[in-house]
Amino acid sequence: MVEMSGAQALIEALYKEKVEVIFGLPGGAMIPVYDVLRDSKIRHILGRHEQSVAHMAEGFARASGRVGVCMATSGPGATNLVTGIANAYMDSSSIVAVTGQVPTSMIGKDAFQEVDIIGITTPITKHNFQPRYASEIPKTVKMAFHIASTGRPGPVLIDIPKDVQSNTADMIFPNKVEIRGYNPNISPHPLQVKKAIDLLTKAEKPVIMAGGGVILSNASQKLQAMAELLLAPVVTTLMSKGCFPENHPLSLGVLGMHGSAEANKLILEADVLLAAGARFSDRTTGKIEEFCPDTKIIHIDIDPSEIGKNKAIDVPIVGDLSKTLDMLYDSLAKRLEKREDSPWLRRVRQTREEFKGKMIDQGEDLAPPKLLKKLRELLPNKAVITTEVGQNQMWASLYFKVFEPRTFISSGGLGTMGFGFPAAIGAKVARPDVPVVDIAGDGSFAMTANSLATSVLEKIPVIVVILNNSMLGMVAQWQRLFYNRRYSAVELGAAPDFVKLAEAFGAQGFRIGSLDEFTKVVKGALKSEVTTVIDVPISPEENVFPMVPAGKGLKDTIYG
């Protein structure tokens, strides 16, 4: 037992969790914590808006597989975090957010900068805590990290009243915690596994739908082995892009509203669908009634509530994906012969041939598909890509091929404009050894561009490629296609000048006019010690295809 303040206990507990970096922004209700942080070995990275520090923590978490930590003060600091926390919740990212709170004696009095952040974040956190005594802090931190990082990961918030930060107590730092209402280590039921094996053994046209869970449980290699054994083509979701190499002959790419033509087509032909750590979101499945209505579906998920939530399942398996895939593989390997080819694979190749050429290399020089293909050539496979939200994101999903897990980080569930740039900064902190590139839209980048200050001053160089259509492009696309071209509030004009904006923050900015120039600038950026913003003017009329209109099924995919 050691006597120390709540603030000291917090930093000590974080240190014991091996936290090396905190993304944050202080304020009155956090001064005791920041006072301790000043002398700590933990690096603090100062953001310019709390939304961004939460995204940075998430970028860090998703690039590294560790827990990302962010901090904010009470009131507006805490409410600014909300978007970032919600984003992490929707995408099952492990972050711990620490907020300051008014002193316990002031809670409920509408004190200055008081906000009920526990109430506000209850639906968007995996769990939240408000320790009322300093002595509770070590255990609370231990529980927060345990909850955030195990089972289905998610954000956890710890709201610490200011007096709890400054009061001292005898502290005990537990090495382990048991939470009786939380048991994330669910072993798959052998009977269910057997049913799945029977279905998969007989499958003639199996498809694997890999979800974000594959990345979260580090099961990419197992998934690949399974696909090769079953000769099952693999579709991914936006969340799992990268868990299966997109240059693999069995890769069909991402499916969904802006899925690849072959993914959207072939999944509907499957006789058995193995859904691994996917949650059947509407953007992925399209109209759910028309999603694989006659297919036998096996669904593996560690979160029991995901099973049957959106889609009735034939063989549900609750369990850790990595463990479950091991069990499935061991049995299937004994039953199935290794094959090189199958009628189903011939069908896959034929479909791919049919769509070939329709998809890429179309349009002018700086058309996004061409540009992104060029970007891929310029970057090593291990480079980490983040995206903003809108057309830029969907172009990235369709045309930027990814080969390794944790190298594609995008706001999937919440679709948060402004996510990509701070997430890139967080990812770069986690992976300083690899280039990190945010594929951005002009609208989205403008939302969190003030993080340029953080990236420059904290020396976290990333590359931002703005596909600049001077539009809220995705909204404009819907208005063009479904509202008779009646543009409403989507024209962004020429403000800001992103080159000057970058320079104003001490970053470098370039506006490029050709693929050659783009190549040169990217090569330079890869060697640069400061952040590079590359403004790529593209046509405001460009659409993203394929597309499934809202409310329609995958079979109604329009190809352009």
């Binding site: 526990i118 109430g119 209850t122 639906p123 995996k126 769990h127 408000q130 909850i147 939470i179 009786r180 209402g181 939380y182 979160d303 029991p304 509530s305 099973i307 049957g308 939530k309 009735a312």
Partner: protein, 164 residues
């Protein structure tokens, strides 16, 4: 389809006896669009645990989701959807009735006896009866009471335990 038939379900949960737990649970219902018919919360034989008994109307798929979403909450330790057959179900209601005259008063007292309920307050112009039993019994008493004129009703919501 069996899964789509709507019925009343009783969901019994054991939760941490801590501030904020009721909010977390009830908030889940609101966020996910499930409707609570009644909810009752009280202590159990362990002082650090509470029991929440929730009744909802829904099909079996909905109830399955409700149970799973409740179980997912960290402060919820155990959840079960109880089947009516094997469950003791009780509710308490206080019913305040208009009393027009002495005749009405004695009628009410007689009916209260038939329902094995108790008169707990008598005042000029009103009588308050305490009824305990299954929700059906309470509904029946209320229907009867309405012929006299009901001033106010307070019902506790269902509480339940598995038999045996």
């Amino acid at each position: 389809m069996e899964r789509r038939v709507k019925k009343t379900y009783i969901i019994s949960t054991i939760v941490e006896n801590k501030p904020g737990v009721l909010h977390k649970a009830s908030n889940m219902f609101r966020c996910r669009g499930f409707n609570i018919d009644s909810i009752s919360v009280g202590p159990t034989e362990h002082k650090d645990l509470s029991r929440m008994t929730i009744t909802i109307k829904g099909d079996s798929a909905t109830v399955e989701q409700v149970v799973k979403q409740l179980a997912k909450l960290i402060d919820v330790i155990k959840v079960s959807a109880l089947s009516l057959g094997s469950t003791v179900v009780r509710e308490l209601a206080l019913v305040k009735l208009h009393v027009a005259d002495a005749r009405a008063r004695s009628d009410i007292i007689n009916y209260a006896n038939v329902f094995r309920s108790r008169v707990v307050d008598v005042a000029p112009g009103s009588i308050t009866v305490e009824v305990t039993g299954s929700p059906d019994k309470i509904d029946a008493f209320i229907t009867l009471a309405s012929t006299f004129g009901i001033k106010e009703i307070a019902r506790t919501g269902i509480t339940a335990l598995v038999r045996g």
